[in-house]
């Protein structure tokens, strides 16, 4: 993302009191502009095309969580835990949305200090009709804020898959609040908000580090801290309804066009190229997983096909917007193979119970994607006014980029792993993380929410 100083509109509006209505704000700004020719030329122009695409992209990414991820996850758990699993996604949307508006956005995306943003946009202070963020100069700042909000939402919701079937709802709510501020917000600032990883030159177009490695590692740590599900390895834990997971996958897949395409922060060729690479990677990932399972197990499972698609999507995420379409196919194939191996072999060898394979798909895929971004980055894809030379990777004559990518991944793994562990210990000191064995046996829908599915 290009960096720039504060634009004139922000300076002009800086002294205005927070309780001004947007209309008064607008006229006050207009007066200031008219009276001071030195700042009469706005540093930014809100572009209708960019704004239209980003509004659509924001809706697409929100749809990824509700109902996309809710259906994807709930379809993979047992019937007695379907509603509890959906509750975690819906709760993540509501909790993260409010907290993001209050403090999350400003701490992640205001100012370009190496460690953390400032409080300039606390409670969305100063975001008016004309303000734009220096990080996205052609769309309203309110739009940039809510677009980034949807990323924070899905990252928190993704983690819940690792602890499905056993985490208490109250513990998940507390965990979500702390994890958003302690783990997600700093990472988002470091990678996208002008923090030290962005300064270092880390390339992460749409969230290989911030979203996927982060959620995957947090999921692994949470699965280890909470322990295995009752009956893991002995009882039949087969999914309740994979057709729900297929519908969810379709919504995630389509939503990902907004996730990766929207990360161009505007409507143009780069968004389009990102979408093409994304779609090809999803297809290649799905086919790879399908073929491997067909060979190993004699049957191409539906769960395998959709898992491969999600693996391809998660893995291409950091690379989309930096690579060519055919790189998407290569990255998708690598993703399908590696994530298949992680979910069917690595997990059994290491003996952890990550219920819905958040680590095996998003953690492993995210790490691969961040690394491969350093390999396949092609400068021509990322050339624009603020980066006239684009961002080259290994195949474009810049092998050093791979090392930067590995450093970014390492920082993310360490921060997410340690942060998640500390937060779970804190929450665990206040309230039990896990339901009682009896409640787990009866099911979380009835014991946590007082409801059940009657069909």
């Amino acid at each position: 993302m290009p960096k720039a100083g504060h634009d004139e509109m922000k300076q002009a509006s800086g002294g205005l009191a927070m309780n001004l209505s947007s209309l008064r704000f607008f006229s006050a700004s207009a007066v200031l502009l008219a009276a001071t020719p030195a700042i009469a030329e706005p540093a930014s122009k809100i572009d209708a095309g960019d704004t239209a695409w980003m509004i659509a992209a924001t809706a697409l990414v929100l749809m990824m969580t509700i109902p996309g991820l809710a259906l994807f996850y709930a379809g993979m758990v047992r019937k007695k835990n379907v509603l509890a699993t959906m509750a975690q996604s819906v709760a993540a949307v509501c909790i993260v949305s409010i907290l993001w508006a209050l403090l999350g956005y400003t701490l992640a995306f205001s100012g370009d200090a190496p460690a953390l943003g400032n409080l300039e946009r606390a409670l969305l202070h100063g975001i008016g009709m004309d303000t734009v963020s220096p990080l996205a100069k052609t769309i309203p700042e309110s739009l940039f804020m809510i677009y980034q909000m949807t990323f924070a939402i899905i990252t928190v919701a993704l983690v819940s898959g690792a602890v499905a079937d056993r985490m208490r709802f109250s513990a998940f709510v507390l965990f979500s609040i702390l994890w958003l501020f302690i783990v997600y917000v700093p990472l988002a600032h470091w990678v996208w908000g002008g923090g030290f990883l962005q300064t270092l030159g880390l390339l992460d177009f749409a969230g290989g580090t911030v979203v996927h490695i982060n959620a995957g590692v947090a999921g692994l740590v949470a699965a280890l801290v909470l322990g295995k599900r009752r009956g893991y390895g002995t009882e039949n834990l087969a999914p309740y309804d994979l057709s729900m997971a297929v519908i969810g996958t379709g919504m995630l897949w389509v939503g990902w066009f907004g996730f990766n395409g929207g990360s161009a922060l505007g409507a143009g060729s780069r968004a389009s190229m990102a979408i093409v690479a994304t779609h090809l990677a999803a297809s290649a990932g799905a086919l790879t997983w399908m073929l491997l399972e067909w060979k190993d197990r004699n049957k191409p499972s539906v769960l395998g096909i959709i898992s491969g698609a999600i693996a391809g999507l998660g893995t291409i995420t950091p690379a989309s917007g930096f690579v060519l379409p055919w790189h998407g196919i290569v990255i998708g194939i690598v993703a399908g193979g590696a994530c298949y191996w992680a979910c069917t072999r690595l997990k059994l060898w290491l003996g952890y119970d990550d219920s819905l394979d958040v680590f095996g798909v998003h953690g492993v895929g995210g790490f691969l994607g961040v690394t491969l971004t350093g390999v396949f980055a092609t400068a021509a894809v990322s050339i624009d006014a603020s980066t006239p030379n684009g961002f080259p990777g290994l195949i474009d004559g810049n092998p050093r980029q791979v090392l930067i990518q590995l450093a970014g991944a390492a920082v993310t793994i360490a921060w997410s792993g340690i942060g998640t562990l500390v937060i779970l210990k804190l929450v665990g000191a206040v309230t039990a993380l896990r339901v009682t064995p009896e409640a787990e046996q009866i099911g979380l829908d009835v014991t946590l929410h007082g409801e059940s599915i009657h069909s």
Binding site: R297, G304, R345
Partner: protein, 112 residues
């Protein structure tokens, strides 16, 4: 009167119903059940996790007929439900003491 209970393969239900209708059976009760016999279960695999499914889905048919028709009904079910493969199911015949049609109060043969 006889109660004839048949456990059959689910996809044979329509064939059995047609066969019984043809010989004049006026009604029957059907339930989706699970169980096991000589037919083995199957293995399901979800991302490498293998689960053996021991209880297979079957259809249970219950029909009550006058004594003299019981043999024909058993034969009709057996013919219609047969595939010759393992897991075709079983038929049980039990004596019924009394029957009553709730709406009219008719009893025994009149109630069937």
């Amino acid at each position: 009167m006889k109660l004839i209970t048949a456990i059959i393969k689910p996809f044979k239900l329509e064939d059995v119903r047609d066969a019984l209708t043809k010989i004049g059976v006026a009604g029957l009760t059907v339930a989706e059940v699970k169980g096991f016999g000589r037919q083995k279960g199957h293995t399901e695999i979800y991302r490498g996790a293998e689960y053996t499914v021991n209880f297979l889905p079957k259809i249970k048919i219950e029909v009550v007929v006058p004594d003299e028709r019981a043999d024909r009904v058993v034969e009709a079910i057996a013919t219609a439900a047969k595939t010759g493969q393992i897991g075709d199911g079983k038929i049980f015949v039990i004596e019924v003491e009394h029957a009553l049609r709730i709406r009219t109060g008719e009893t025994d043969s009149d109630a069937l």
